[in-house]
């Protein structure tokens, strides 16, 4: 008979077998046995400043590595503090396992000290959840949780552990087999060949096709297959915000990002296309605008692992349910290239006519700074962001070439995500250069995690686009609320001194000429975090933009309108204007 072990030890044993190297969290009454069992284990436990930080770190770790991120919190307030982070991971389909403490089984439901109905609170924002009332279920539950989090359409799974289930003892029997009869991905690993053939037929007959790729390409590690499809068929590729990095933006067939703040020519191309090939993307409303108007001339193909994504917002003609990688492999095997020469020439013309533009102003502009960061890191950094204008400018002006390099909260749009996500990413990829391009509003929602970064001497670089505003809110107020700035101004903060207080290097930059040297200086610092306070223009707007409910060919802040307003136009540097771009070669 195997020796008996405590529930918490069984948990740790199972985490080890899942290959967990690091977990983020904060201890408290209800999860002390878990922290105690981790104390002498090979798993590195990172104390965070706030549980929201722990959840975002687990999320950032998962996005940067493709592995499951783990976070830990105590019952009650610890668990409720995780909620924003879990919801963020859920909306973007990120594999995270959250392990929470819970009050003793015998007092559950009695409003005991630090009791919250964690399973109930998180039910709509988890892929699945477990309450372990019996220590004999521990090993099976942990095994299943990791499996569910990381397979199919990934997502967060929560394990709620009443204290008694972590201190009770039982034999440790590792479940070699997983058998979850209601979990459908096991039942249907087969791909639908007939549907793929019909889609291939539609591709061969199209004249103006576009591939619209989303995060599914990254989760499903299908970048090579996507590249092959694009090159084989000469079909240009646009990505969603979360799809950035899934297709190299240096590639001549890349159209960058589409949607609300997507490129002007890209949105025009989408409005004109006759076939839209959605791959691992969910037709989010920030992409489609008004669903009936979205790519209205086009037949639509939609490849997705999750059947519930299909026909959810936009009705498609060729649904293909299946693992994106497998589907693309089969498609690549049979697909015939349409003649897209005329179409590529049209797009190329639009690209030259409607480049991404901003006008020089007296003060520093975030677009310029982000472009400089992109160039100096050669597009090879892992870049996390907050939410707002800076996030959209990062999507526009940083040239993403590699999968798992853009770490941003797309679905939930969680301000405060950037710093902890960057920390998680750096733990997962110690050798990567990790940036957090942040707003002064977003950054101040989780600033305290500088303590975590500093303690572990992480060389992350935080670049704050300090416009002393909730910039994106201010922009909408200017556009739609007659410039009434209701609570969108932010009190100035001395981020350099703040950085120093946490043991980080602080650098303030106010002039254009200082930008490059400052970035270079930050990049040379490898033994602690650097916080760069870029004091930028307060009223710069993020263009172009599709106003809510408007179609893709009626954008605001277009090239024409900006040009008429005067000033020195600056193009996105990475857009080569030579003819070679978008050629068939």
């Amino acid at each position: 008979m195997a020796a008996k072990m405590k529930g918490a030890q069984i948990l740790v044993e199972c985490l080890k077998r899942e290959g967990v190297e690091v977990a983020f969290g904060i201890p408290g009454g209800a999860n002390l046995p878990t922290f105690d069992a981790l104390y002498n284990s090979p798993i590195k436990v990172i104390l965070t400043a706030h549980e929201q930080g722990a959840a975002h770190m687990a999320d950032g770790y998962a996005r940067a590595t493709g592995k499951v991120g783990v976070c830990l919190a105590t019952s009650g307030p610890g668990a409720t503090n995780l909620v924003t982070g879990i919801a963020t991971a859920f909306m973007d389909s990120i594999p995270v396992v959250a392990i929470t403490g819970q009050v003793r089984t015998s007092v559950i439901g009695n409003d005991a000290f630090q009791e919250a109905d964690t399973i109930g609170i998180t039910r709509p924002i988890t892929k699945h959840s477990y309450l372990v009332k019996d220590v004999r279920d521990m090993a099976r539950v942990v095994r299943e949780a990791f499996y569910i989090a990381s397979t199919g359409r990934p997502g967060p799974v929560l394990i709620d552990l009443p204290v008694d289930s972590t201190v009770a003892e039982t034999e440790f029997i590792y479940p070699e087999q997983i058998n979850i009869r209601g979990y459908r991905i096991q039942a249907s690993p087969l791909i639908d060949r007939a549907a793929i053939h019909r889609a291939a037929e539609a591709i061969a007959q199209s004249k103006q096709p576009i591939i619209y790729a989303g995060a599914g390409v990254i989760h499903g590690t299908a970048f090579a297959e996507l590249l092959e499809l694009a090159h084989k068929t000469h079909i240009p590729v646009t990505t969603s915000l979360l799809g950035l990095g899934g297709f190299p933006e240096t590639d001549s067939l890349s159209l960058g990002m589409l949607g609300m703040h997507g490129f002007e020519y890209t949105n025009y191309a989408v409005a004109q296309c006759d076939l839209l090939i959605g791959i691992g993307a969910r037709f989010d409303d920030r992409v489609t605008g008004k669903p009936d108007e979205f790519a209205r001339r086009a037949k639509k193909i939609h490849v997705d692992v999750d059947p519930s994504s299909i026909n959810k917002t936009v009705v498609v003609d060729y649904p293909i349910i299946g693992d994106v990688k497998q589907v693309l492999q089969e498609l690549n095997r049979i697909v015939q290239a349409p003649d897209t020469r005329a179409w590529l020439a049209t797009i190329q013309k639009m690209r030259q006519e409607y480049p991404l533009l901003y006008r020089e102003k007296e003060k520093l502009l975030p677009q310029f700074i982000i472009q400089e960061i992109s160039e100096l890191t050669k597009g090879n950094a892992v870049v996390a962001t907050g939410v707002g204008q800076h996030q959209m400018w990062t999507a526009q002006f940083y040239q993403f070439n590699r999968p798992r390099s853009m770490i941003t909260s797309g679905g939930l749009g969680t301000m405060g995500f950037g710093l902890p996500a960057a920390i998680g990413a750096q733990f997962g990829r110690p050798d990567a250069v990790v940036w957090d391009i942040d707003g002064d509003g977003s950054f101040q929602m989780t600033t305290q995690e500088l303590a975590t970064a500093s303690k572990h001497k992480l060389p992350i670089k935080v670049a704050i686009m300090n416009n002393q505003h909730h910039g994106m809110v201010r922009q909408w107020q200017d556009l739609f609320y007659q410039g009434r700035h209701a609570q969108s101004e932010i009190n100035p903060v001395d981020f350099v001194r703040l950085a120093e207080a946490y043991g980080c290097v602080g650098i303030r930059v106010e002039k254009k000429d200082d930008v490059r040297p400052a970035i270079e200086r930050a990049m040379a610092i490898t033994d602690r975090p650097t916080v760069m306070d870029f004091v930028v223009e307060e009223t710069e707007d993020c263009w172009p933009m599709i106003a809510p409910g408007k179609p893709h060919d009626q954008m605001l802040g277009t090239y024409e309108t900006l040009k008429q307003a005067g000033g020195v136009p600056q193009h996105r540097r990475s857009d080569p204007d030579e003819e070679a771009k978008l050629s068939l070669g």
Binding site: I119, G120, P124, H128, I180, R181, G182, D306, N311
Partner: protein, 159 residues
């Protein structure tokens, strides 16, 4: 076009599953007519019969969303004419000496019975498909229904 559809699900028979299913349905703003849960021949599995008011696209979404739940083992839409469905109805109806006999004959016509009777009211018990029970309720209305309860639909596929 919006129509009534009957969905039959097999789910894990453990704690919290009903909350997951009903939570999902309300969070997605699907219109639900009735939902019943009961045990099956297998004690580890329960059957939920859900009647929703939805158009074809919405219905597809309900089924897909239900399928996403790990605790849902199987989701099946029961198509018109291909299943047997029943509900149980209990109604307290006011009666006087004259109407009591009429009442009894109506109830007998519907294959029901009086579950309880006293001086000025009776409790009627009847089982049948939704449509039949709707008709029964119509006929009872003029007598004065003081309380009404129906179980909601349970259904089984025909062979």
């Amino acid at each position: 076009m919006s129509e009534r559809h009957t969905i039959s699900c097999l789910v894990e028979n453990h704690f919290g599953v009903l909350a997951r299913v009903s939570g999902l349905i309300s969070a997605r703003a699907f219109n639900i007519d009735s939902l019943t849960v009961s045990t099956t021949e297998d004690p580890t599995i329960s059957r939920m019969t859900i009647v929703v008011d939805a158009d074809a696209i919405k219905l597809e979404q309900v089924k897909n969303q239900l399928n996403r739940l790990i605790d849902v083992i199987e989701v099946q839409e029961l198509k018109e004419g291909q299943f047997i469905d029943r509900e149980l109805l209990l109604a307290r109806v006011s009666v006087d000496g004259r109407s009591r006999a009429e009442m009894e004959s109506i109830v007998r016509n519907f294959g029901g019975r009086l579950a309880e009777a006293d001086e000025d009211s009776v409790v009627i018990e009847a089982a049948g498909d939704t449509h039949t029970l709707d008709r029964l309720v119509e006929q009872l209305r003029s007598y004065g229904i003081t309380k009404l309860v129906r179980t909601g639909r349970v259904a089984l596929e025909k062979q």
